[in-house]
Amino acid sequence: MIESFELAVIGAGPGGMEATITAAGFGVRTVLIDSYPQPGGQYFMRIPSDFKVDYENKTETAGRKLVNYVLKVPSLKILNCLVWGLFQEEDGSWLVALYGENAPKYVRAKNLILSTGSYDTPVAFPGWTLPGVVTSGGTLVLLKNQRVAPGKRALISGTGPLLFSVAAHLIEAGVEVVALCEVNHILPHGIKHAFTMLKQWDRLTEGAKYMKTILGVKTPYKIGWSVVEARGQDAVEQAIIAKMDKFGHPIPGTQKVFDVDLVVSGFTLTPNTGLPRMIDCEMSYQAGKGGWIPVRDADFQTSIPHVYVVGDGAGVGGAENARLEGKIAGTSVAKNTGFLSLSREKQIRQEIQSDLHQQHRFGDLLSDLFTPPAGLVSLLKDDTIICRCEEITLGEIKDAIQMGARSIGEVKMLTRTGMGNCQGRMCEHTVAAIIADQLAGEGVTREDVGYYSIRPPLHPLPQSFLADAVPEEE
């Protein structure tokens, strides 16, 4: 027997937790699914339950409260497992396919709220596959959650305010940060956003705290610079940086070399859209939101009725934005399933509308200043590996384009990019940028290049499990 729910929420970060609390709070029979053992997602990730800490900061307190609240929602089912597929049944309800030690193989739900977050935009450069090149998210998880420093001497390169957080945490951990490179020329262009920034008091005070730590050890903050290569035999030994023009091309003759054992790569975030793609939600390309995102209505419902997407997975906007979007989607499901009156739903929406608007304005600021420049593809050499899993180089991708490939799907078919373990998450950004760059003369844009189609299973699974995964007849 497959257990049935009114609502399945996938992803227990701030968006998924708030959607769950809202919908289940109004009485909607809900299942919350996450692949991590504790709810929280990346933003509110708790330290492991085996660790003890005497002090927690504001974010950790907020996270702990939200997680504890979720854990106490009456009649809520929480599953710790991976979602590997979504299959629509004849009556329109969804079979959610699961993989995990103590999980059922499927649950059934009439409504879906996907809150699958985002990940560091993987920007390829020569040497990026060497051990010691780590994303900003990966670095922060190791520092904050595991209290392990992934290096002793670090170069940080990328774009956006998250770099300050990484730098400050590394410095406090005792890591020497040789330089912090911001690839975008954010000054004086950024001044026009001063008013929006002033309304983000929490973010400003947090940023000021990071700056104090960074300035305290005189870490150079280099605006308009980027890592151009990582070098080393079996792991990173050197990082090479260069001054960049405003398109993201390195300026000849400006290179500097640093001896480091860690290169942190943080080029903002990419929405994790595997599930909406798998079920063919209509997608739209928004560079400033991190790439391809599902098209949504005012309730955050996608082109497929009863399927919602909230938070970073629908366009990068941060934790508070995700939480507010989760609340609206949860309210919408409660209304549509008859647990909430139309007038009450309207009232809730009005209460949070101005906060949400504020979050969107801040998101616009981030995308205006900190989108990774398209010119970064000029860093790549013909033998640079672009697809880490299948080891496909720039040269091979260029050959495929020569042979007539015009879309990312065609490059995939000709070369196998995106067909390995990561399902294309690590190479899509760069492969698409390469195609658009190579075919710029023909007017081909990132939008024309398209995105990898995603088919189940979303993650690699043991064949023995899949062989047994056919749902039983009822």
């Binding site: 330290i47 492991p48 085996d50 800490v53 051990p131 990966g138 520092l143 392990v148 951990a173 792991a235």
Partner: protein, 102 residues
């Protein structure tokens, strides 16, 4: 690569879980309950987790959140496990760079 021992404003001191012994390629390394396999390996100075199939290049933790599949190791004989999201357990046997035998 090291376990952070000093206490700071952003990273206040923590007490790790119970010490456990895990073996990497036959050698015992220090680990504590609550740690991930990747964290314990990095703290022990182990950088290469697996080698790429074609070019046999060293690979290691990249995304740190279970989606890039670059930190794959063999754990208790089971091939291709993600070290970054697998918690350590007493007696765990970890092998790096092991080719899948078919």
């Amino acid at each position: 690569m090291f376990r952070i021992k000093k206490s700071s404003d952003m990273l206040p001191a923590i007490q790790r879980g119970k010490p456990v012994t895990i073996h990497v390629d036959g050698k015992p390394i220090e680990a504590y309950q609550g740690e991930t396999v990747a964290a314990a390996m990095l703290a022990a100075g182990i950088r290469t987790f697996h080698k790429s199939h074609k070019q046999k290049q060293p690979r290691s933790l990249y995304c740190g959140m279970g989606i890039c599949y670059e930190c794959l190791v063999t754990i208790n004989g089971v091939h291709a496990q993600r070290a970054c999201i697998t918690p350590v357990k007493q007696g765990m046997q970890i092998e790096t760079c092991k080719e899948l035998e078919l």
